[in-house]
């Protein structure tokens, strides 16, 4: 859907210019969360393919990369002072917010891309949280959306970094996207946009799979599929550890 829209946009945006397409690859399509996972890094690299040479007076090329985690529903609560203490008073269901959101660009976004496309394709931190259709007029929805973004920027889950894409001769580009240690598993996507004259001229999208593996996978499955067994095993481990420590200290005291 996004791709079709983008192509339509691209056709209207640059009807006379040479047709450009983008070819992308990632350093890894699979991120394994193992016990010692402490964050990771994905290199995005690509090239621009053209069917004709560039016109002399064409606007400079810019690139934006959006790496996004699975969209989730969340609830955001706001505290207010009531009877002298701070209490959660308002809550808003955010219908759709990505668990992870990272934008990389060649230049500041507001200088290179029009607002409509930034909103439609969710390019930029201010568009990470998707607003819901039926908004309560009594509640400042904007403030709640901004709060989600602010909290997650502080957690390292959301980021926007300008100028970190290396673009060479308007043809080759690469960027590294940092994945934090508090990553959640799911199906991630990397979206790449070529931008000229404040419009998207080409795009591509690559899937990234983030999965728990090894011990992490095994424990997670056991906890959800064999909950009673998992609970009993947790208790057994606790009792054995308690007994073990007691015995070790008894031996040490002799």
């Amino acid at each position: 859907m996004i791709r079709i829209l983008t192509m339509i946009v691209a056709l209207f945006a640059a009807p006379l210019a040479a047709q450009e397409t983008v070819i992308v690859d990632l350093s890894q399509n699979r991120v394994a969360i193992t016990a010692n996972f402490a964050g990771s890094e994905i290199f995005v690299f690509g090239a621009v393919k053209r069917d004709a040479p560039l016109a002399e007076d064409i606007a400079p090329l810019d690139v934006a990369i959006v790496v996004e985690g699975p969209l989730e529903q969340t609830v955001v609560r706001k505290k207010d002072k009531t009877l002298g203490i701070w209490v959660n008073t308002q809550s808003v269901d955010i219908i759709s917010a990505p668990s992870f959101f990272s934008v990389a660009t060649t230049r500041p976004l507001d200088e290179i891309l029009n607002v409509g496309d930034r909103t439609d394709f969710a390019i930029g931190l201010d568009h990470a949280v998707r607003r819901q259709a039926n908004e309560d007029p009594g509640i400042d929805m904007q403030a709640f959306s901004e709060a989600v973004t602010r909290i997650r920027v502080n957690n390292g889950l959301y980021s926007e970094r300008e100028g970190i894409i290396n673009l060479t001769a308007e043809t080759l580009f690469d960027a590294s996207i940092q994945l934090p240690a508090n990553l959640v598993e799911g199906d991630y996507t990397a979206r790449i946009y070529l931008i000229r004259d404040r419009n998207i001229v080409a795009d591509a999208s690559v899937d990234i799979t983030v999965r728990k593996e090894g011990l992490e996978r095994w424990l997670y499955n056991l906890a959800h599929e064999q909950a009673l067994l998992y609970g009993l095993l947790s208790l057994l481990v606790a009792l054995v550890a308690g007994y073990g420590a007691s015995e070790i200290f008894r031996l040490l005291r002799r």
Partner: protein
Amino acid sequence: MQIYLPIAEVSVNIFLLLGLGGLVGVLSGMFGVGGGFLMTPLLFMIGIPPAVAVATEANQIVASSFSGVLAHFKRKTVDVKMGIVLQIGGLIGATIGVWVFKYLKSIGQVELLVTISYVVFLGLIGSLMFVESLNAIRKSKKPGARPRKKRHNWIHGLPFKMRFRTSGLYISVIPPILVGLLVGILAAIMGVGGGFIMVPAMIYLLGMPTKVVVGTSLFQIIFVTAYTTLSHATQNFTVDAVLAVILLTGGVIGAQIGARIGVKLKAEQLRILLAILVLAMCGKLAMDLLLMPSELYSIGSVGGH
């Protein structure tokens, strides 16, 4: 060294967790409290999701209490009979508490009520113990001060009397069952073992000797927290085994050290230290309610995963 926790879904420093486990373990062994009232807020602070912190903490308390109670069994400072009587009340209370918790959740603001009950109970118990043990220390320093007579109050007039040899008591089973019940309710609502309520209740309400109180409290806590762990594991899937193992490794070692420190201290000193600790945590939680938080908004998940 970072480690990724499979249920909490965050990466944390393993040595930080070991240290926290050890610290709380020492307190657990010294005072006979599970340490949940300290550990749970500490886990929130390092970024563990609250639901996971509460459930996993229960599992860790099972280990540290078991380790501690073994040390007390060797010194014969566990009143098993009293523990079982308290337990009967405790399990009934925990069941009522879970029900109350669900009800509070359905009307919202459960977080607030939990915090307020922490502040009220920690504040009340902390101040009572502080004043009482301060008086006890002052009296013992005065030369020629008479030891206090054993209290004889309405509790001794109740029926269904039973002999508790280890505690040196001959009292009705009604007060211990009621104490267990109350602690069970509070433990389930506040998500802790309830030792910080149980210990003073045994000293001041039941008149048990302090040395026996610690072991008996630990004995009782094992069952309450085991019950909580299983409930959370089967209903909320929030027990993180990796987090629990790291915390309890630190915790069981700490509990052994704590139990030995506890023997060396005088009963009054032990009580005043526990009182200061309880008051400090009470003050911290009260501040959270009274001061403007740096972030007014918080993100919660809808119906877990």
